[in-house]
Symmetry: C2
Subunit: 222 residues, 2 copies
DNA sequence: AGAGAGCAAGTGATTTAGTCACTTTGTGAC
DNA sequence: GTCACAAAGTGACTAAATCACTTGCTCTCT
């Protein structure tokens, strides 16, 4: 009912970012500077900045400054304060993907998007360069191949949710070779523009993963 | 690289909420109380609470207290700090829905979920009770009928993004009668378990909306 | 000239102490 | 019984500091 409190500040800061046409990685004015500009004190401006930080709109770097975050242009995001994972929630997640991704694959097959990154993601998965979070995820790149950034965000958010327990799932379902082969098959179908095959292969692929998760016992449950 | 800063506080607060098994609407300890408990000062605890507020995990009510928010159990959410809407972004949004919702409708047709709310949403749309945000949205209820809460969240987030410009779109595409008829047709298909028809009808319905938006001139563009 | 150590300025992180504004609740007068 | 009002509890915000970290510069030594 109230107009707002320090929400106006977050809007104002976003306004500054957009007026200056700043993108992810660019620096924004310091907290002291902003406090002076809006004629408020630093704890107040920090509250507004924290709100923006929570959604990835800005990033703090201690001693250096505050910067525009990576997800400032997102329309949808993974809840950073999500509840702890359970077997049920993982199955719900894979269920959602099973509903969504076959259509994504079909769309990708008919879109005339560049497939370079997608192919890189296929081969990348076999030889993970030690990094825990591989920069190129096959399923995200598949979504990107639809040419619709919102779809890419959607899949990315869905995967980000379980980033913490990814290694756990990896242990349960470490059939990396089969993963690779299925990814490659999907890629080939997309490349040749065979939407029906891409859809079907994706459905089977996710179904395999779901079956593996269903069969596995979960380490920690309340 | 750093372990974290006041992120530990947000986690600790979430821990308190979960340990006490609090749900949306329940009150959490006051800022002063929390500050005392963690042996820190109130501005610091407020920063942590603001982060939680940004994602809807908690809610402030001036003079009353702090309460658990509605989206605390979400895995994905609409970006509250999203960029201003453009015609292109609306089309991307409808494109994502066009990819996703036909599969949702098909799934809903085969699921053995209660359809009461869905039917209510159909009839509700014809007679909006003056409220700008109708509690029962047909597309969200359709997603709910799949029985997968993550799918419901996904569609809900996608729709929430343009809540601000909903009335604008309404003006452009105010074919409420056709909307109602198409919704009812989808509902009937779902009810009779005809997945193929439900899928096709949903695709056509969204395609109509997209066509209408494409044809419309957008009021404000940079 | 180049490489390294060390200083200084700028910035985020947090404290301390207090004031103001709002909501709720209970009490007492009517 | 009902209404007005005071009190307690709470969020909202201020003010002025201090500590911790990063960065860039300069100065020195090689």
């Amino acid at each position: 009912m109230a107009p707002s409190l320090s929400d106006r500040l977050t809007e104002a800061i976003l306004g500054i970012i957009r007026d200056a046409d700043l993108g992810p990685g660019d620096a924004i004015p310091s907290a002291r500077e902003l406090a002076k500009r809006f004629e408020i004190t630093t704890p107040t401006i920090r509250e507004a900045l924290r709100k923006l930080e929570a959604t990835g709109a800005v990033e703090f770097r201690h001693g250096s400054g505050t910067y525009v975050g990576p997800t400032i242009n997102n329309v949808v995001l993974a809840n950073p304060h999500r509840p702890p994972i359970t077997k049920e929630s993982v199955l719900q997640l894979i269920g959602a993907r099973l509903l969504l991704e076959p259509a994504v694959a079909a769309q990708a097959a008919t879109a005339s998007q560049s497939l370079e990154k997608l192919e890189a993601a296929v081969t990348n998965a076999l030889t993970p360069p030690g990094g825990p979070a591989f920069a190129l995820n096959f399923h995200v790149e598949l979504a990107a191949a639809t040419g619709n950034p919102v779809v890419e965000e959607l899949i990315g958010s869905l995967l980000k949710v379980r980033v913490r327990e990814q290694q756990q799932i990896r242990q349960l379902y470490d059939n990396r070779k089969r993963d690779y082969e299925e990814h490659r098959a999907i890629f080939e179908a997309v490349k040749s523009g065979d939407a029906v095959a891409a859809e079907q292969l994706t459905r089977e692929h996710l179904d395999h993963i779901r079956t593996a998760i269903e069969a596995a016992a979960f380490p920690e449950l309340p």
